[in-house]
């Protein structure tokens, strides 16, 4: 269904009000929460690395160490990094938690992430041809894209991408800018030179590789192989988890896409409307939401990307009620159900045809 401009501006006003209700109350509670997250992350990272070396006492300590390091990386990337880089905690004026200074434990350079994710993906969410996060230029996820032979084995591509997700994310901007391969798209204006892109990509990547696969194994002495394997496993666990969470937020069965014409000079209301239709939520216990960095509330995140994420759960019922009032589909379900539809979608569009999901 189509909303009139009048309805859209009413929608914007209501959602703005929901946001203002939370933002005007920000204070000690949120600050304490994110500092507790930082403390948990530091404690699990350090203890995880120590326990891995103690694996010679019993391998169970090594297993616990791997789990803790994976947890630390997941917290760093999701509940802390992703949210801090969105500027959710900029108001705290804390250099450790500021979007302009934050750098995370992942191969992707924070500056590159802020350009491709915060700007491109969040501004042009699910606009075919503008939001390269829709399928990452690798997967065909709707009939808006022409079928190609390589789509036939795109489920395998998906599995590989998930396993190496941090490298996919890190290479994302360089792929879009055609730094190494392909012809540059004429309509892309880039603000960063290819040299700087390469410098950030190789610099950050090399530091991450050196840390996990040279430095820590070296100082572990005879336990070097255990530590190296443990770090590799922790990175892979984090990769699979982050990729799964993100896929469940944008590529479930009922997520819509948009054409560029629909969004030219769009109003704030239409932007909100597009964010609701372009995202999907999934449910779970509280700890589960924290591990997803509250991206389990992808809809709320896309509506209010700079609202401290712990509030997404509290505003979700209000957002759902507003969506219902305006007859906008609010896509939510259990984690397993949503993931099943993601897998189905990847497989369905491996083959020609299917339905276009543009509204």
């Amino acid at each position: 269904m189509k909303l009139t401009e009048q309805q859209l501006s009413e929608l914007a006003a209501e959602l703005d009000q929901v946001k203002a209700g939370v933002m005007s109350q920000l204070g000690d509670k949120e600050a304490r929460y994110i500092r507790r997250m930082l403390l948990t992350q530091r404690l699990s990272a350090i203890s995880g690395r120590v326990l891995m070396v103690l694996g010679f006492i019993t391998p169970w300590l090594w297993v616990l160490g791997v789990a803790l390091l994976a947890l630390a990386k997941i917290l760093d990337n999701m509940e802390i990094g992703h949210n801090v880089l969105h500027g959710q905690y900029d108001w705290m004026n804390d250099p450790v938690l500021h979007s302009q200074r934050f750098e995370w434990d992942i191969a992707c350079d924070a500056g590159s992430w802020k350009r491709t994710h915060n700007f491109e993906h969040h501004t042009y969410t699910n606009i075919i041809g503008k939001d390269r996060d829709f399928g990452y230029g690798l997967l065909r996820l709707s009939n808006d894209f022409r079928w190609r032979l390589r789509n036939l084995w795109q489920f395998v591509t998906y599995l590989v991408l998930s396993t190496l997700f941090q490298w996919g994310v890190s290479y994302h901007e360089l792929a879009g800018e055609r730094v190494f391969f392909g012809k540059k798209k004429p309509d892309r204006v880039n603000s960063v030179s290819h040299t700087d892109l390469k410098k950030a990509f190789f610099g950050k990547g090399a530091r991450q590789l050196f840390k996990d696969y040279v430095f820590f194994p070296l100082i572990a002495g005879p336990m070097w192989l255990w530590v190296l394997t443990g770090n590799l496993l922790a990175n892979i666990i984090r990769n699979l988890w982050t990729s799964t969470v993100i896929f469940c937020g944008h590529f479930t069965a009922d997520v819509h896409t948009f054409t560029q014409q629909q969004c030219e000079g769009e109003s704030r209301g239409h932007w909100y409307y597009r964010q609701i239709l372009g995202s999907s939520n999934f449910t779970g216990p509280r700890w589960f939401h924290i591990l997803t960095g509250h991206l389990s509330c992808q809809i709320e995140h896309h509506l209010f990307p700079d609202m401290p994420a712990l509030h997404y759960l509290t505003v979700a019922p209000q957002v759902q009620a507003i969506a219902k009032k305006y007859g906008i589909a609010y896509n939510s379900g259990s984690f397993l159900r949503q993931y099943a539809t993601v897998v189905a979608r990847i497989i369905r569009y491996s083959f020609p045809g299917g339905r276009a999901t543009t509204v």
Binding site: L39, N93, S99, K114, N118, T123, K211, R268, P305
Partner: protein, 400 residues
């Protein structure tokens, strides 16, 4: 690949160049090693913790029970506080041992955690160097500004505050050493309101008096004069010190030159001047004195007071600083600073232009901005702002 090769060549050339420099003795070996050490440490810290220094990584862990401690500053325990006047609050602080001390007259940036956020404001130290030497304590005295964010929060929270964060002491508003004053020079001080704080620190720290000092203390009325008892005591005890209390509510503004000329045996040109108060006051006195032939090097001034003044019209001046270059931008009310800066030919980084993506965030050094989306007015201290949805609320200094 050729890019990498080039970089290697450049690196070796750099090495050779450095060795040559060292041999020719143009750069000290120590300095070179320390620079290399610094950059090596930075790289190491980035690799290990993704932070420019390991301190940032460890801060949440080591100071988990001290959230009020800002990672860039020193911790200071709040020892005591008292109200000097109805509007002026004095706070005694015990800085951590990492704090290096101060010269009377200097100021520091005080940071507090208020409602989860760090807010900062600079204050002059109002205590003597003796207090710090003997008890490791300093005192700051703050006039509570009804429009100010920091001082209001400080007054509200002071009874439950245990710690504040403080920067190193800074500023060159300090008393000339005895060597400079040996030429029988006298010292003239003018304090306006809370501008007494650095001057009182200087006066109470003076151990051996070699030259006469006259202090013009301008206040609205006596009830608003902080440290008055102490000043009167000093004047009674120290023959070289003269206190002139000017009640501006009754007597009007002080005409400095006229006052000084009336003093017997006083030479305008043989004096050193220290002003502390609003910028307009200092400028006025400075101009007057220079007209009388006083050298401008003899005049020292510290500026006090809020950046917001009624004299500013609807169009504010925003100073954008980019790599040492300063550009003045006319920022009209309600116009996003990003747009105003671009209109002036600047090219700040930007993204969505609707307040979503945080690409245009940059450091505001001073002044207040209006958030166009929420209608909120910011504090006056240094903080980060989104250029695309911020408009000038006062004159501003912004770093790009």
């Amino acid at each position: 690949m050729s890019d990498l090769k080039n970089r290697k060549v450049v690196f070796y050339l750099f090495l050779v160049y450095n060795c040559a420099l060292k041999l020719s003795g143009r750069t000290s070996v120590n300095k070179t090693i320390s620079l290399w050490g610094q950059s090596l440490y930075r790289q190491f810290s980035l690799m290990l913790a993704n932070q420019p220094k390991l301190g940032y990584y460890l801060h949440p862990l080591l100071n988990w029970n001290k959230p009020a401690l800002h990672p860039d500053y020193h911790s200071a325990r709040v020892v005591d506080f008292c109200w000097e006047t109805e509007q002026m609050l004095s706070v005694w602080l015990e800085p951590a041992s990492s704090w290096a001390g101060f010269t009377p007259g200097q100021h520091l940036l005080v940071t507090m955690l208020h409602k989860g956020r760090y807010i900062s404001r600079s204050f002059s130290i109002s205590s003597s160097s003796a207090l710090f030497a003997q008890q490791k304590q300093i005192r700051i005295s703050c006039r509570i500004q009804p429009q100010g964010e920091f001082t209001k929060a400080l007054a509200a929270d002071i009874s439950k505050l245990t710690h504040l964060s403080i920067s190193d002491a800074m500023g060159d508003f300090v008393l000339a050493t005895t060597a400079d004053t040996a030429l029988e020079k006298s010292i003239v001080m003018v304090a306006a309101g809370s501008g007494i704080t650095p001057l009182w620190s200087m006066l109470s720290s003076l151990r051996c008096w070699t030259s006469p000092v006259v202090l013009f203390y301008c206040v609205k009325n006596t009830a608003q004069a902080a440290f008055l008892t102490e000043l009167k005591l000093l004047a009674a005890k120290q023959p070289l010190f003269e206190l002139q209390l000017i009640e501006t509510a009754a007597a009007g503004r002080l005409n400095l030159v006229q006052h000084l000329k009336a003093k017997a045996g006083f030479s305008l040109t043989k004096s050193l001047y220290y002003f502390c108060g609003p910028a307009a006051m200092s400028r006025q006195y400075k101009d007057d004195l220079i007209q009388q032939g006083v050298s401008s090097t003899a005049i020292h001034a510290e500026l006090f007071g809020l950046a917001v003044t009624a004299a500013e019209g609807p169009v504010k001046q925003a100073l954008f600083m980019q790599q040492g270059k300063v550009t003045t931008v006319e920022a009209a009310a309600g116009v996003p600073l990003l747009q105003a800066a671009e209109h002036q030919g600047l090219t700040p980084r930007f993204g969505c232009r609707i307040g979503v993506c945080y690409q245009c965030v940059c450091q505001k050094k001073s002044g207040q901005v209006l958030n166009l989306r929420t209608g909120q007015i910011s504090g006056d201290g240094p903080e980060q702002i989104q250029l695309c949805i911020s408009a000038a609320h006062s004159n501003l200094q912004i770093e790009l």
